[in-house]
């Protein structure tokens, strides 16, 4: 996913270096006929693709069974979301090798890609994206304190330990409720045993999140979601990060304005890289930059 992005952005920036001149006074960007970076398109396709892959299980094709909290791929590869694993580990107060081996590959993937889960796999990003088309998000002012999210995550973990139930994953997780909603809908339509109250609850949670998105864009993602916070910590050590090329920044701050996770990009433009815990690698800053990928990049390996 991000590999194509990296190649794409590199290819485009190389093309740009050949084609356009240095920005001078009075030059307007983008000039007509120049290639645009399609990160958002690819990203939305990947998001949709993952959802559709999970939908295949209702056609009795066992490509990806379950949901993004816990799933089984191609018959026997078991996966479990990292935060769900932590909650389950704490609530059961015992270690099983099965669950650990299911969490390991996911942890491995996101140690490489950081918080790209939120931007490239989470179905809520897709839904929020649809809401954003209706009402474009206006990121105003200072970033709201997202540190409270760590407190929320710890509270859920502590609660799971004390009560003995994985609290967030079972009740409030947007991922669980998304897939439960779809499973419930399909089963209800096929007249199979399914509790209608489950469908109501899950749709209630989803509607609440969508309304929240209308009111305060990505408040859930930026501040509340403990899954995001966990992967955000992975950002600190992941291979994928934002890097900045030594090039003349026009200080237009378009990158900051396009970022809906309120990551302060322009401030760090003179540093080699940025590993913000809120960055979900959606690519809007890369696209939004006036130089279109020359300055702000998402990089997976060592910068050249």
């Amino acid at each position: 996913m991000t590999i194509t992005t990296k190649h794409e952005s590199e290819a485009v920036s190389q093309e740009l270096q050949g084609r356009i001149q240095e920005p001078g006074a009075g030059e307007s960007f983008p000039s007509p006929g120049r290639k645009r970076i399609g990160i958002s398109k690819v990203r939305r396709l990947v998001l949709l693709g993952i959802i559709l892959l999970f939908m295949l299980q209702f056609l009795k094709v066992k490509a990806l069974v379950g949901g993004l909290s816990g799933s089984v791929a191609v018959f026997s590869l078991r996966f479990i979301d990292v935060f769900a694993y932590l909650e389950s580990l704490l609530s059961s107060r015992s270690f099983t090798i099965t669950a650990f081996l299911a969490a390991l590959p996911i942890a491995g993937i996101y140690l490489i890609f950081g918080r790209a889960f939120c931007g490239w796999a989470c179905p809520m990003d897709f839904l929020f994206g649809l809401i954003n088309r209706v009402r474009p998000p206006k990121m105003k002012g200072r970033p709201s304190s997202s540190k409270i999210g760590y407190g929320i995550a710890v509270a859920f973990l502590a609660g799971s330990f004390l009560i003995g139930i994985p609290l967030f994953t079972n009740y409030l997780s947007h991922i669980t409720n998304f897939f439960r909603f779809i499973t419930g809908g399909v089963f209800y339509a096929l007249d199979l045993p399914f509790e209608p109250s489950t469908l109501f609850f899950s749709s209630g949670v989803l509607v609440f999140l969508l309304v929240l998105e209308l009111v305060s864009p990505r408040l859930w993602c930026r501040v509340v979601c403990p899954i995001g916070k966990t992967y955000g910590l992975f950002n600190r050590v992941s291979l994928l990060r934002l890097t900045f090329a030594k090039s003349t920044c026009m200080e237009c701050s378009l990158c900051d304005r396009r970022c809906y996770m309120q990551v302060r990009i322009a401030k760090h433009i003179n540093r080699p890289s940025l590993r913000d815990t809120n960055c979900i690698y959606c690519g809007r800053c890369v696209e939004g930059c006036e130089t279109k990928g020359r300055i702000v990049k998402m990089t997976l390996w060592r910068q050249r």
């Binding site: 069974v65 379950g66 949901g67 026997s76 099983t96 299911a102 439960r180 045993p193 509790e195 109501f200």
Partner: protein
């Protein structure tokens, strides 16, 4: 006028009933009105909790491990058994967890696919014989085999067959008894030809609680003198059985 308005109305009504009869739920009713919505077997014994999918850890550990990801539900759906369903919001503590609710129409077939797929380890891979989902209890006042008939449907449906079923053949029927090797899959519940089934699957914990009473009743019936048994069967049991009816197509052939 050839037909009065009343005649036309009658004709239309009959036409409507005739045309919709193949699609109505009344179509396949047997001779006596078999009502599956009656109180089920053993109304005095509660299920006692949730019948979890096979291979489940003990209830407290299961609840702690289960992340309600829905893999078991979907695997069961892919296998076309559709036995596992998700608990609703009314069960607050168990919301989202899987259980086998409708034993009458969608029992567990013991395909053992769900433990193989459970990513959180709430369902463990075990042998079919070691599954302890629950315990099937025959309602001795409703079972055909205990009230003058010879049925055998439940034992034929049982995947463990002879290991689980003991027959106390007597003058009042073949009198089946389910011993403690029962895994609780519920196939016997589905194939019992009595309307609403004469078998109920309860949790293992609940079985421990009711075992003494149940075994006592069983022993009493076996040792009962002829006249007393006759009175019970013809006086109390058979009217109930007649009301519930017999579904021939349910019998495991």
């Amino acid at each position: 006028m050839l037909f009065s308005r009343r005649d036309i109305l009658r004709i239309l009504l009959f036409a409507a009933v005739d045309l919709t009869l193949p699609f109505s739920p009344l179509h396949d009713r047997p001779l006596y009105a078999a009502k599956e919505e009656f109180t089920g077997p053993l109304p005095n014994i509660d299920i006692g909790g949730f019948i979890r999918p096979p291979g489940a850890l003990p209830e407290k550990d299961f609840r702690a491990r289960c992340i309600s990801c829905g893999v078991c539900v979907n695997v069961c759906h892919t296998m076309k058994y559709d036995a596992i369903s998700i608990a609703g919001i009314r069960e607050i503590r168990n919301f989202g967890t899987p259980s086998i609710k409708d034993m009458r129409d969608f029992p567990c077939a013991l395909c053992m696919e769900c433990p193989r797929h459970c990513p959180s380890g709430a369902l463990q891979k075990i042998e079919k014989e070691n599954v302890r989902m629950g315990m099937a209890l025959i309602d001795l006042s409703l079972c055909f085999g205990w009230n003058g008939d010879v049925c055998l449907s439940c034992s034929k449906a049982c995947p463990l067959g002879g290991k689980v079923f003991d027959f106390y053949n007597g003058e009042w029927g073949n009198q089946p008894y389910i011993n403690e090797s029962c895994v609780g899959c519920g196939l016997c519940v589905k194939y019992c030809p009595l309307g609403g089934s004469a078998i109920k699957v309860v949790t293992r914990e609940q079985y421990k609680r009711v075992r003494n009473t149940y075994v006592l009743e069983f022993k009493e019936l076996l040792e009962m003198p002829h006249e007393e048994r006759y009175t019970i069967i013809y006086g109390r049991n058979l009217p109930q059985i007649m009301e519930k009816g017999r579904f021939i197509e349910r019998e495991y052939r």
